[in-house]
Symmetry: C2
Subunit: 186 residues, 2 copies
C-alpha cells in the first residue's frame, strides 16, 4: 500500500506559516535540498487543502497546476496534485476533489502508484491522522518561534504514537525529524 507522508517545514512552536500564509522565515540549505530530492523521487501524488493551494498558487502559479493527466496525455512530468475544497471554483489545469478526504485517500492508497505527500494543511492532516491514513511524519524544524501562524497540528480525537526514524541537523540551525506512525495497539 502507498505511504502517505505528512511533512514540511515548521517553526519550533509548530507553525507552518505566518497568519497571512507567509513563509519568508524558511531557510534553504543543502541538507534540506538533499532530503527533498530523495523524497520527491519517491512520490507521484501531492494532497493539499484549499488554503495551502492558494499560498502555493501565489508563490508558484505553474507548479500548483500540475493536474492528473488523462489517457490522451499519458506522460507524467510531475506529481499529480489534488486540492481538497468544497468551495474553490473549477479551474483549468487543477484537480479539485469535492468529496471527503478520508474515503478519497483510502482509495488512493490502495491504487497502484508511488508514494503520496500531504503538503501543508494541518486541517487536512487531522481527519487523515484520526482515520489512521498517515504513515510518516517528517518535519524540518526551524530555529524560530513565530509566535502566531498556521498550525501544523490541530486538536485530534486521540493520541497518535510515533516511532523516530531519524533526527538530523540540516545546517542553518534546522533539524530534520522523521517518524513512522506506530500501528501497534490500534
Amino acid at each position: 500500500m502507498r505511504t502517505v507522508t505528512f511533512g514540511g517545514a515548521t517553526s519550533l512552536d509548530n507553525f507552518l506559516a505566518r497568519p497571512d500564509g507567509g513563509v519568508d522565515w524558511l531557510r534553504f540549505n543543502d541538507g534540506a535540498a538533499e532530503i527533498m530530492k530523495t523524497f520527491w523521487s519517491s512520490i507521484d501524488t501531492i494532497l493539499m487543502g484549499r488554503k495551502t493551494y492558494e499560498v502555493a498558487a501565489r508563490a508558484n502559479p505553474a507548479a500548483s497546476k500540475r493536474k492528473r493527466k488523462t489517457s490522451a496525455a499519458p506522460r507524467q512530468t510531475g506529481p499529480t496534485t489534488y486540492v481538497f475544497s468544497k468551495t474553490l471554483p473549477d479551474q483549468d489545469g487543477l484537480t479539485i476533489v469535492r468529496e471527503d478526504v478520508v474515503p478519497f485517500v483510502r482509495r488512493l492508497k490502495e491504487a497502484p502508484g508511488k508514494d503520496i505527500c500531504l503538503m501543508g494543511g494541518g486541517e487536512l492532516a487531522r481527519p487523515l491522522f484520526e482515520a489512521g491514513l498517515i504513515d510518516r511524519v517528517g518535519f524540518n524544524v526551524h530555529p524560530v518561534l513565530l509566535g502566531a501562524g498556521v498550525p501544523a497540528f490541530h486538536p485530534m480525537n486521540h493520541q497518535i504514537d510515533l516511532e523516530l526514524v531519524e533526527c538530523r541537523p540540516l545546517g542553518d540551525g534546522c533539524v530534520y525529524l522523521d517518524y513512522r506512525v506506530a500501528r501497534s495497539g490500534r
Copy 2:
C-alpha cells in the same frame, strides 16, 4: 547575568501535558537522565506558574515545597522554587510571588547565583519571551502527537529567533533540541 532556560518535555505537537495535566506519556531514559543531571547542577532557582505547581505538588508534595531559605537556615539543600500566582493562598514551605513575573525575573537575573529554570508554564514563558528574559530553550521532544493538552508555546507579540546548540537522540524515540535565544537585531 544568570541564564534563564525554558525547558522540559513536549509531544511533537508541542504539548507539555494532557488537558488534565497528565504526563503519563513521558519516557524516562539514560539520555534524558544525563541531561537533567548536568542541568540540575547548573541551576539554583526554579520558576513555575500556579498550574505547573499544582501538577508538581500532586506528583511530588515534598519536592514542590523547597522554599527560599532565610538567614536562620543558610544551608541550601535544593533549588529555590518561586511559584507565580495572584490567587494561590499562602502555604507553609512555599514561596509565592504575587508581583508581575517580568520585573521579578529581571531583578533575579541581575542578582548573584547559579542559573534559573523556567519549568512547564507556557503561560509564564510568554511574557518572559516577549521581555527578552529567556536565554535558552531546551526540549525533550517525545515521539507522540497528544492531540490536545497544555501548550508549551502561547501566542506572542513578536518572533523569537533561536540558534541551534544541539540536536541529539536520547533513546526511546526522544530527541533533545537545545537552542540559544538570538539577541542580534533586537
